[in-house]
């Protein structure tokens, strides 16, 4: 490896940006330039739009982009997971066909893993893919698919062998979402929003060359996607960036972000809106209620100590210390925080908590918190699964007895889905 340093990277990227960045360019045109230069994804391989830069130096590049106000490659949504998975498991044809249009934002992606019959147990997928002639024919139903209406491509987990044990019978495909056999239907949630979709596949087609990894090895590829999903979970919060400066590239990026983020407007509410509690307590006068003061204190203690625990985990990571248990606890802590926050919002709001929409407090925002919080302890791994993970991986307690992994999948009891 050539000796790149923080200073040399900073100098190089700022020189390149000074010579090339121009807000008057179209977004796709500019991102094509980024792809060619390797500065859009500098940690990617040189032959695939990157510069082989160590991941630790990527923030330096990002800082220079920010300093000069330069727009980056498309980062919102499943396309990032698709790119990571294709880089890890795809062949040159896959990389050639997909990566550039991911970076430019021309193609949107979705993830077709969860099914009505398999939520926490994604490897229990029963969507089937059968090779008929020179095509894989796909039949089944997926659920919790964000962005499916706009997606050009889907990352599909499907069962190709029913005689092998559950994990060994799965294969991983890239499916064209724009075909007659694929129907997308919004899934209305209990809070009235429809952030996700159901995807129905009826004799949908996938050409054999769009299998990622080998037949029967789909679970390993899925693990890659899921690993990147977990790692990137925090990135969701930084999505709503977008500069307010003038220029064609800025305007096109703003539009891209607003469209992509629209379905997620309720996400802050599902975390309980801890930030609103003290202002609301003062506004409603309940700050003087000794019962509410106690509950507020409990919540502040929980959310502060959870935040500090996350900081301890990050500090240990930055100092290269062995990973302690504190890194695995955040998801479970956030469920507790969200639930308690919702309870206090209810206590402080009283009868007005019964009202929603324009009749509700803050145009229904408080009511939206109350009906969105239940998502927190389910999405991205239920509290129960989190507890299993903590017990088994951190505390080294015995794994759950598996009754479904050592027999042909066709003999495994499963849900009847209508």
């Amino acid at each position: 490896m050539s000796d790149v340093t923080e200073a040399s990277v900073r100098a190089e990227v700022s020189t390149w940006l000074a010579a090339n960045w121009n807000p008057a360019l179209g977004l796709v045109e500019w991102r094509n330039k980024l792809a060619e230069s390797g500065w859009g994804v500098p940690h990617w391989p040189k032959q695939w739009y990157g510069r082989d830069l160590p991941v630790g130096l990527v923030p330096v590049v990002e800082e220079e982009f920010k300093r000069l106000g330069a727009v980056g490659v498309a980062k919102v949504g499943i396309r990032v997971l698709a790119a990571a998975t294709i880089l890890a498991h795809g062949n040159d044809m896959h990389k050639e066909k997909f990566l550039r249009r991911i970076l430019t934002g021309e193609d949107a992606w979705c993830q077709l893993f969860s099914e009505p019959g398999s939520g926490s147990d994604a490897a229990g997928a029963v969507t089937r893919a059968d090779l008929r002639g020179n095509q894989w024919i796909v039949n089944g139903q997926k659920v919790w698919t964000s962005g499916a209406q706009k997606a050009h491509w889907g990352l599909l987990l499907a069962r190709t062998d029913w005689d092998k044990p559950k994990h060994a019978g799965l294969s991983y495909f890239i499916i064209d979402m724009h075909q007659p056999g694929v129907k997308v239907q919004p899934l209305k949630q209990m809070n009235g929003h429809a952030t996700f979709n159901q995807v129905f596949m009826t004799d949908a087609n996938v050409p054999p060359e769009l299998m990622l990894g080998r037949e029967g090895e789909g679970w390993a590829v899925t693990t890659t996607t899921l690993m990147h999903e977990r790692r990137g979970a925090d990135a969701l919060r930084s999505w709503a960036m977008g500069s307010d400066q003038m220029g064609r590239a800025y305007e096109e990026e703003r539009k891209e972000i607003s469209v992509d983020l629209a379905p997620y407007k309720w996400y802050p509410q599902r975390a309980g809106r801890v930030d609103l509690l003290l202002p609301r307590a003062r506004e409603t006068g309940s700050i003087d209620d000794p019962v509410i003061r106690q509950e507020l204190a409990k919540l502040l203690i929980m959310s502060k100590s959870a935040e500090w625990t996350a900081r301890r985990a990050r500090a240990a990571q930055a100092e290269g210390k062995p990973q302690g248990p504190e890194g695995s606890l955040g998801k479970l802590a956030s469920s507790h925080v969200a639930r308690l926050a919702a309870r206090i919002h209810t206590q402080m709001t009283g009868a007005n908590a019964l009202l929603t929409g324009a009749d509700g407090v803050m145009d229904g925002l408080i009511a939206e918190i109350l009906v969105s919080v239940p998502a927190t302890s389910i999405a991205g791994g239920t509290d129960e699964i989190q507890r299993n993970i903590i017990a088994e991986r951190v505390l080294k307690m015995p794994r759950e007895l598996a009754v479904d992994t050592n027999k042909p999948f066709r003999d495994v009891p499963r849900n009847i889905v209508s």
Partner: protein, 380 residues
């Protein structure tokens, strides 16, 4: 030390201390000492200080200490709490030493602190009275000028190591005053004439409490007498520091309980399998880990906030003590439940930590008390 990580020197200090205590203080030693009236052993206290200098850790060098901060003091407390060591650390090195540091004159610090730092002398702080209030304003014990000095009359109660301390720092008030005005600190030797000390029958036998009766006891003033509210402020500061130290002791005990309960669940066989393989056990242990780690984060943060002199340190200290109180007791309840019937026996060690959890929960104010302090200082 930052608020989120310990330095390698601090990690090493912790490791050495933990190893030393595991080696020197087996639980049978805890059981031996808890049956004695004094509750601690002077020879071991000397040795612990000769070997590791724990009582000197945060006392400044000019007063015979090592000059470290609350980060290090917190480490000592956590390890003492983990091993349930019966030593007069909280009373002497934390309560009395900090009270003297917070209110004493330069000459008084030079006189009183070196023997505390070396472990040669044991001191304690006597502020609480029969009413059980942790606030200075509740003080009724009076200090009456007499000749060139003062006489103390009244009582103190719930005094940690009050029956065995060589020196007692007493919070008293001038006759006819009330509230936070007219308060002063005094020192009284443990064997002063007119002082009657009675060990209390306390629920937690590993931390001894005493009631002190003052009948015209000659006392030496500690700190300036003229400043009308100075002593109240120094006392409040001392309690903030003591709450943080106790919170660190508590998370040490909680973590030990959690680990012991886990080890037990891994070896206890029922229905042909380790009970640790049952999901009810796994989920309980995951919850315990979450609670203990969150409480640790708060205790560590609070110790660093004291060292950094943060503006909101009163709220932060209250936060740490509140969460440590809830967490230690909850962990102790879980630990006994995980042990099942054996956990309710005298011979099983779990109850020793359970009782320490209970006494620590109440000492310096329970969780609700500290939550109120936190909200008052932080939010409204």
């Amino acid at each position: 030390m930052s608020k989120f990580s310990f330095s390698s020197e601090q990690d090493e200090f912790r490791t050495n201390l933990r190893r030393y205590l595991a080696d020197q203080v087996p639980t049978r030693e805890v059981r031996r000492l808890m049956e004695t009236e004094t509750g601690w052993d002077r020879a071991f206290w000397r040795r612990l200080n000769d070997d590791l200098g724990v009582a000197a850790i945060h006392i400044p060098e000019q007063y015979g200490g090592h000059g470290f901060g609350f980060g290090e003091l917190g480490i000592v407390m956590e390890e003492l709490g983990r091993a349930l060591v019966c030593v007069p650390f909280l009373s002497s090195a934390v309560l009395a030493a900090n009270a003297i540091l917070n209110c004493g004159t330069e000459a008084e610090k030079r006189l009183l602190l070196p023997p505390i730092a070396s472990g040669e002398s044991i001191a304690t702080l006597a502020s609480t009275e029969d009413g059980g209030s942790w606030e200075a304003t509740a003080t009724t014990l009076t200090a009456t000028p007499s000749g060139g000095g003062f006489h103390l009359s009244g009582h103190k109660s719930f005094i940690v190591d009050g029956h065995s301390a060589d020196l007692i720092v007493v919070l008293a008030r001038a006759p006819g005053t009330s509230g936070d005005v007219g308060l002063s600190f005094f020192t009284v030797p443990g064997d002063a004439p007119g002082l009657t000390r009675r060990p209390l029958q306390s629920m937690d036998p590993t931390r001894k409490l005493a009631r002190l009766e003052f009948n015209v006891v000659p006392a030496t003033p500690l700190g300036p007498l003229t400043d009308s509210q100075g002593a109240a402020a120094a006392f409040a500061k001392t309690m903030t520091q003591a709450s943080v130290c106790l919170a660190n002791e508590m998370v040490g005990g909680a973590d030990r309980l959690r680990e012991d309960a886990l080890a037990y669940a891994m070896m206890r066989m029922q229905f042909g399998r380790a009970i640790a393989s049952f999901q009810s056990m796994k989920h309980k242990h995951a919850d315990m880990l979450l609670e203990v780690e969150l409480a640790k984060s708060a205790a560590y943060y609070a110790a660093a906030a004291l060292d950094d002199g943060d503006d909101d340190v009163i709220a932060i200290a209250a936060l740490a003590k509140a969460t440590a109180s809830d967490t230690y007791l909850q962990t102790a309840i879980h630990a006994i439940q995980i042990h099942g019937g054996i956990g309710f026996t005298w011979d099983n060690d779990t109850h020793l930590w359970f009782k320490r959890a209970k006494s620590s929960e109440v000492l310096f104010g329970d969780a609700a008390h500290h939550r109120e302090i936190m909200i008052r200082n932080w939010a409204a």
